[in-house]
């Protein structure tokens, strides 16, 4: 049976980190494996089309960039992707676009790999579609993080046990390959990709729902929770508040304001204590 490859939802920040490729043959597709075990042949992304340029002297071969909250996807589209190429030429820059595309790799030398995308479908979309994609991609990135963590607990990581936990065959195989090839996987980095991305759709919501005073109160409470006699490290406070869903800029603004009002002070540089 012919299988249609699923379209993975993955942030540019994860996709572009990939260095592992499974090369296909005449009848088997190629995949790239991301550090979180995404085993990707096709992907679906929504982002901002920032530029389109023709990189071929004679014919038409376009390079385009699509930005998401975590990084930039590179697209290459030529005469064999006529519909996608036409769309890229006609959509104004900047615009939200949705892309269904296949992985494309370029390995200039061993150990380094450039990843791009060969689009199959390109369509202009609106901000709601972008927000829906961010949510979906956050959910699926989190799902992969869960799978990687389960894989790490296994000795050795294996597809059979991962599948018994309910992970798909593709993801289970990807997780095993990732754990074999990537050494230490920086899970915290991908967790913060999710947080950063969520801020794209929520910071306005926080400001609208919560006055700056409420945010300051929330932050002050957080400081009191974590500080010892010597106070608490600035970074720790920022991290704790971020986990509550407040973005970094808002936190820094609130800290400055709290300091001006005399609720907190900085006993040593980088440490904060409540008065």
């Amino acid at each position: 049976m012919k299988r249609r490859e699923p379209a993975w939802r993955v942030f540019a920040g994860e996709y572009n980190d990939s260095t592992v490729e499974i090369r296909g043959g005449e009848k088997t597709p190629s995949y790239i494996v991301t550090p979180l075990g995404g085993k990707i042949n096709r992907l679906f992304l929504v982002g901002v089309l920032t530029d389109v340029e023709n990189v071929s002297e004679g014919g038409e071969f376009l390079r385009a960039h699509v930005s998401d909250p975590t990084g930039v996807f590179t697209l290459y589209s030529g005469q064999y992707q006529k519909d996608a190429t036409d769309q890229l030429l006609n959509i104004e820059v900047p615009s939200f676009i949705g892309v269904i595309g296949k992985i494309r790799t370029f390995v200039p030398e061993e150990g380094s790999m450039y990843l791009s995308i060969r689009p199959e479908v390109v369509r202009e979309l609106d901000v709601e579609a972008r927000n829906r994609w961010i949510i979906e991609t956050c959910v699926q990135t989190k799902h992969r993080i869960g799978a990687i963590i389960e894989g790490m607990k296994m000795n050795p990581p294996n597809v059979y046990d991962l599948r018994k936990l309910g992970y798909s065959r593709d993801l289970s195989e990807g997780v095993v390959t990732a754990l074999k090839n990537y050494g230490e996987i920086d899970i915290e980095k991908y967790l913060s990709l999710i947080r950063e991305s969520l801020h794209y759709i929520t910071p306005q919501e926080w400001k609208r729902k919560m006055g700056s005073e409420e945010i300051e109160n929330l932050i002050l409470e957080t400081i009191k929770e974590v500080e010892g006699d010597e106070g608490a490290a600035w970074d720790l406070i920022v991290e704790k508040c971020q986990k509550k869903g407040i973005d970094e800029n808002t936190i820094e603004e609130a800290l400055t304001s709290l300091m001006d009002k005399g609720y907190i002070f900085e006993p040593v540089l980088g440490t904060i204590k409540s008065t």
């Binding site: 049976m1 012919k2 299988r3 249609r4 490859e5 699923p6 379209a7 993975w8 939802r9 679906f44 929504v46 949705g98 269904i100 479908v121 369509r123 979309l125 709601e128 579609a129 927000n131 829906r132 994609w133 949510i135 979906e136 956050c138 959910v139 699926q140 989190k142 993080i145 869960g146 597809v159 059979y160 599948r163 018994k164 798909s168 065959r169 593709d170 993801l171 967790l191 999710i194 947080r195 969520l198 759709i201 929520t202 919501e205 986990k243 509550k244 869903g245």
Partner: protein
Amino acid sequence: LTSIDESIDDILDALSEKKVGREELEKHLKRFLEYGVPLDHAKETLIKKFGGSRVLIKDLKPDQRNITLICRVININQREITVRGETRKIFYGILGDESGTVPFTAWKDFEIEKGDVVEISNACAREWGGNIKLSLGERTTIKITDEALPEAQPTECKVKDLRPGLGAIEIVARILKMEERQVEVGDQRKNVYSGVLGDETGKAQFTSWHDFELKEGDVIKISGGYIKSWKGIPQLIFDEKATVERLDSSVISEKSIKTQRLPLHELVEKRGALDVEVEGTVIDIRKGSGLIDRCPECNRVLREGKCSIHGDVEGITDLRIKLVMDDGTGAVGGILGREVTEKLLGKSFEELKTEKSYDKIIEKMNNLLFSQRLVLQGNALGDEFGTTIIARDAKIVDIDVEAESRKLFEELEEL
């Protein structure tokens, strides 16, 4: 040297009782090899020698090799496949022992029949679709024995667990549809009783070769059926050897029968299912969507005004959407007929027929559906092109981005 170590691992794997140590095995194996006995044969001999090596079906593990089983052939079918341009006959079916059942594939004709009790040596177990499957190949030997083998203990199943290759199952279900018809088996006419049954996890088809006097609305416990599939839709098959026990109909009320909901990778792996609900994002509106012409004789879609069977005919215009739905784990096709399409587009067929350009209708479908989350309900059929849902209903899912993102923040906290 490593191959000796690996061989010893294999032998130890195949022995259920470890009555013999590594060193002793190594001594024996090396001895055989010194005499030029081929490695495989040496291994086989040692496994037999330190015997008692029978494995129970419930203890099979993926990638286990040199397995010895004593089991009963619950059913066996054959099929022709093409391997590198060559047509080969393969056999598949279900084996069972007192501990459970396992589907198998035999790559040659072992001349075994349904009901035979057999001793199988040198089989291997593989993982397939998340379950164990037994592979019987060139190195496998099978001996028909007259050993008395206790019947398999039936495995309790829910409808959602039914998959081809399961045998000796026990299931409690409600009969939702029932029909009696006659079929010819050889030169005999036989009555078959078939229909749809269901429980709180889903629905499946069944066929009984014996008249258990089943009626719609009956709630029954069936022990001793096995599962076949048609286009991926599971079918429970049973006959007079099965036992059917009537239960109080309140055990499974009509209301508790649910439409099965599952992620797309699971559906694609099952290939098909009866009456399911799936959710995913629309990532393509395919050719053949919009206004189409059908043959008045056979209802097939015309290509360039021609029916592939009836040639030049006056087509009857119809409306449909053919789409690809993808949830990031798997992708399925969806076919939405006229009524469902009208409901989604919010426009009647008559209105759409007045559109001058067919492309405009496709553009409308794209604008409405591309990148939207959709729920489809219907039967899922698997064929060589993948799985397609024949939708009896479709709904766009409204996503509350704000609530979803708050929920995610909370879940991240817990991770």
